[in-house]
């Protein structure tokens, strides 16, 4: 609040906006509506020089309020959106699109579809060309809804199929949706961007109709075309597709390589390591070790028993063969200062033992190799395990005792 006693239209509306902003941030929808009521007359004044004019403000603020206000209905909301569409022709398609999103969030798929179709047929001189991007999005989302409809028909068909009925009408409808969907989905994924949901749907369609070549091409483009932004999911989709197709381990591994680079903590790293461990190529096995160590650097993996078992298995194998201990040494070098506290504290030993015995088993194995039989973690767990007379823990103890000097070589 200022001591300014002068006031003009512009300042007054600026102040009004800041009150609205505060109310929105505090989720006081009634209060926001109160001030918005006073703000709307700004529409009657020209702000063509401003970056964001009152019509856009009112659209965005009004949307927020109507969406969250307890007394506002979907009908009111749609009515408001229609008004907003008439307010700014330069924003028309954007408003349409956001309206569709809200409808979808509210489960009104049919209305959303109608709005998309309507928007698609919109023409307005040179604006049509200027708003080309939005138009593409609108077509893409309509394609998505076509996919949704296709999917529904497909399920109906499958059900009938089980019952022994065949329904020609449904089948034809289904193919119709496929054609419409395919056209639009294909178009949008040509443009560099993040189109995960569109890609997935399109690939699903292609696979159903047996066009695996096209699917593969699409996924490759999506993952490897440098014009597209780096997207871990692209690689995941490609990998899953290749797996479904029964491709060779070699191509599966190469699909996951970039994923490891971008997101070393990705859950597929387990699959990745598993494949790499079993490889005949030394380089690949080496990479596998790196992959699993790196994944376990992340806090989210601390209690992942599967991951630990992968690491344990690989390390056990290396220790038994007595080859490539330097690999472990290399990996351990950068971790020996902080992994003990991070993974192998006494507290964690107790907790892991209490909560998940398999987890503690695997971890104890790793700890024993890396830190020797006298380390806190191993000592506690193996002691507990032997006390509980669990066979594998006795085996574990023996194993680590036998290879106790290994840790000296690793940490030396």
């Amino acid at each position: 609040s200022s001591n300014e006693h002068k006031l003009n239209f512009t300042k007054s509306k600026e102040a009004c906006l800041s009150y609205i902003q505060d109310a929105l941030l505090q989720k006081q929808w009634k209060r926001a509506a109160e001030f918005l009521t006073c703000y709307v007359e700004a529409l009657e004044k020209d702000y063509s020089r401003e970056h964001i004019g009152p019509s856009e403000m009112i659209w965005r603020i009004g949307t927020e309020i109507l969406w969250h206000h307890s007394q506002s209905s979907m009908k009111e909301f749609s009515c408001f959106m229609e008004q907003m569409k008439t307010l700014g022709v330069k924003r028309y398609l954007k408003v349409c699109l956001e309206h569709v999103f809200h409808l979808l969030c509210n489960g009104q798929i049919d209305e959303a579809y109608q709005n998309l179709s309507l928007a698609e047929s919109w023409r307005f001189g040179e604006q049509t060309a200027i708003q080309d991007k939005e138009m593409k999005l609108i077509q893409a989302y309509r394609g998505l809804l076509d996919y949704h409809n296709w999917s529904k028909q497909k399920n109906i068909l499958l059900e009938h199929g089980e019952d022994g009925f065949s329904d020609l009408a449904v089948e034809q409808e289904m193919h119709g949706y496929f054609r419409k969907a395919a056209v639009n989905l294909k178009e949008i994924i040509k443009i560099p961007g993040v189109w995960d949901v569109f890609v997935k749907c399109y690939v699903d369609l292609l696979e159903f109709y047996g066009d695996h070549n096209e699917a593969r091409q699409v996924l490759n483009e999506y993952a490897y075309n440098s014009k597209f932004p780096a997207n871990p999911n692209a690689h995941v989709y490609l990998y899953q597709f290749l797996k479904r197709q029964g491709e060779s381990k070699k191509s599966l591994i190469s699909a996951l390589k970039i994923l490891h680079d971008i997101v070393p903590s990705h859950e597929l790293m387990i699959d990745f390591n598993t494949m790499l461990q079993k490889s005949k190529k030394r380089k690949k096995r080496r990479l596998g070790l790196e992959v699993i160590f790196t994944a376990l650097d992340y806090a989210g993996w601390k209690e992942n028993a599967k991951a630990w078992s992968c690491l344990a298995r690989q390390m056990k194998q290396i220790v038994i063969s007595e080859k490539h201990l330097d690999w472990i040494k290399q990996e351990w070098n950068s971790r020996k200062d902080w992994w003990p506290a991070f993974h192998f504290s006494r507290y964690l030993a107790k907790r892991n033992w209490q909560e998940n015995k398999s987890l503690s088993y695997e971890k104890a194995l790793v700890a024993g190799i890396l830190l020797g039989k006298d380390c806190k973690y191993f000592k506690y767990v193996s002691h507990q395990g032997c006390k509980a007379q669990l066979k594998r823990f006795r085996m574990l103890k023996k194993f680590v005792n036998r290879h106790n000097l290994v840790y000296l070589r690793i940490s030396g």
């Binding site: 200022s2 007054s12 009634k30 009521t37 709307v40 009657e44 020209d46 309020i65 008004q83």
Partner: protein, 574 residues
């Protein structure tokens, strides 16, 4: 208007109507016997002032509109304003005699009426040369394009340019660039000598009349009433008759998009008084509301300060001579006296008195307050001593609440009205559509505002803060005693506080920077800032304004001492 006889004195045919409906010759002011019943002049029905007519009586059939001049519009505005003042209790004499005459005098002096060559003819002359040349060919005369600066134009269409360039003879063009006949002329000509009329100036007129009548209302109060909507100002054009079409440049003249500024209205008023060659205004004596003694009493009450302080304000007023009739009364044209901001002056006197008694250096006033508190705890008889701290807490709390409310009102202020404004006829439909949308949205979101209804305009009140002695929580300080800060010396009561600090050692040269002094909050004690803030809120003006006045008073008060001792530090002993 239909009367075509030649005037006996000057042989011209140029008649107007007087108040009583009689005819008079506008060229030589010869009044004749003939009277006429007040004709339905089509739009000014109750006007006491002359109608202004062109030579021809051609009426625009354009949408039922008619020709009207800008000053006629202002006349209507003034009429509305003075009627509102009357409703607030101002003496009706102000409307019928004072303001009326002021206005007539103004019209005459600015050559818009009552004179040999009314502005109408000047307009005609202008249009003749305009029609023969291309508007753009004269680089010196600003084109209508410039007048309609883009910031005022509507929407994103560029058609504003197209209609502005098609200027034709004034008699045909009334609907093109302005609804009024001389709207463009009003904005175009160099008006420096003629004191062109503006919306803020209507307030200057009103205030001038109020001052002449010595009505019990200060300028700050008057302007506050304007902002609160009790005096028509913001959208007063919506009361213009249907036939007076407003569009184009009229909007620039009659549309208001900012609150009136005290300084502006004040200065304009003085300019006006000089322009009109008015004589010395009626005397402002001690019994007048505007006299510092009176206003100090009012403000002391409103600020919840002890009544006893009034003795001190009177002493200061007397000492520096600002209670003198000659000082307070306005004599137009005399630059050295009479430019008195009565309200600011009174507030500043109170501030000085507070400084005299409490020092207000962020230390001493709290010390005094502690003594008073002690005394009040131990001794409850004889009425409480004034405790600065308690006063501060109580007043600050109320002030904060009021200030917060005021800030919200500023943000919620509605500027537009039902009557649509458009620059040209071809924009009308767009404007109306927009208006409709605004109304729809207001309804929609208004419903979602919950139980908060737009409150009815509160009745205008002279006091913004009120304190009641009946409150048992002791939040009213009027009756508190100043004994705690006074002592007896040689039979006189003097402040316990021996010191005083000057706001500024040297006053600025007003001609150079426009001010006597400059105020920066960080350079002064917080308490001083608080006190300034309090009166700043009550008067709705900047603290620096009051600060300036305080400086002026201090320099009068300590005049001798200042010139005697050339000291560098600003603390003087009284």
């Amino acid at each position: 208007r239909d009367f075509n006889e030649r005037c006996a004195q000057c042989s011209e045919v140029n008649w107007g109507l007087t108040d009583g409906g009689g005819f008079y010759c506008r060229s030589c002011h010869n009044v004749i016997e003939r009277t006429r019943e007040v004709v339905n002049t089509d739009f000014i029905t109750n006007s006491r002032v002359q109608t202004i007519s062109k030579g021809s009586k051609k009426q625009e059939k354009n949408e039922g509109g008619c020709e009207w001049y800008v000053c006629e519009g202002f006349q209507l505005v003034l009429k509305k304003q003075v009627e509102a003042l009357e409703a607030l209790g101002v003496h009706p004499q102000m409307k019928d005699e004072i303001l009326c005459n002021f206005w007539r005098c103004y019209l005459q002096k600015s050559k818009q009426a009552y004179c040999k060559r009314p502005a109408a003819e000047a307009v005609k002359a202008l249009s003749v040369c305009e029609s023969s040349t291309d508007v753009d060919s004269d680089p010196e005369r600003p084109s209508l394009l410039d007048l309609l600066s883009l910031s005022e134009s509507e929407g994103d269409l560029q058609t504003d340019c197209s209609f502005a360039s098609s200027v034709s003879k004034v008699s045909e063009s009334t609907s093109v660039c302005s609804g009024s006949v001389d709207g463009s002329l009003y904005l175009m000509k160099n008006q420096k000598e003629k004191l062109r009329m503006t919306m803020p100036m209507t307030l200057s007129f009103c205030y001038m009349a109020l001052l002449w009548m010595r009505e019990p209302i200060t300028l700050s109060e008057f302007l506050r009433f304007v902002v609160e909507g009790h005096i028509p100002y913001l959208n007063v054009f919506q009361h213009f008759p249907e036939k007076m079409k407003l569009c184009g440049l009229d909007l620039k003249i009659f549309c208001v998009e900012s609150w009136p500024v005290y300084e502006e209205v004040f200065n304009k008023m003085h300019e006006l008084a000089a322009f009109l060659d008015l004589p010395r205004f009626p005397d402002i004596t001690e019994s007048c509301f505007l006299h510092p003694d009176m206003l100090c009493m009012k403000y002391l009450m409103e600020a919840n300060l002890p009544d006893e302080l009034h003795n001190w304000t009177c002493r200061v007023v007397k000492k520096i001579g600002i209670g003198e009739v000659d000082f307070l009364t306005l004599t137009p044209g005399n630059k050295s006296t009479g430019r008195v901001k009565y309200d600011v002056l009174a507030a500043a006197v109170i501030v000085v008195v507070l400084k005299l008694l409490f020092l207000l250096d962020d230390h001493y006033e709290w010390l005094l307050s502690e003594f008073a508190e002690e005394r009040n705890k131990n001794n409850t008889e004889g009425g409480p001593y004034f405790e600065f701290k308690r006063w501060y807490e109580v007043v600050k709390h109320s002030l904060d609440v009021k200030q917060k409310k005021l800030d919200e009102e500023r943000a919620k202020y509605l500027w537009r009205c039902e009557k649509p404004l458009f620059y040209s006829i071809n924009k009308k439909s767009k404007v109306l559509k927009r208006r409709q949308m605004v109304v729809n949205l207001q309804n929609q979101f208004g419903k979602l505002s919950g139980s908060v209804q737009r409150a009815e305009k509160p009745n205008p009140s002279s006091f913004q803060l009120s304190w009641s002695e009946e409150n048992t929580d002791g939040s009213c300080f009027h009756g508190h005693s100043l004994k705690g800060v006074l002592q007896e010396k040689r039979g006189f009561l003097t402040p316990v506080n021996p010191d005083y600090w000057l706001c500024t050692v040297k006053l600025c040269n007003e001609r150079l920077c426009g001010h006597l002094a400059h105020y920066r909050e960080v350079e002064f004690p917080q308490t001083y800032h608080f006190v300034l803030g309090l009166f700043s809120f009550l008067l709705r003006i900047q603290p620096s304004c009051i600060h300036e006045e305080v400086c002026m008073i201090e320099h009068k008060l300590f005049n001798k001492k200042l010139y005697k001792k050339l000291k560098y530090n600003t603390v003087l002993r009284k």
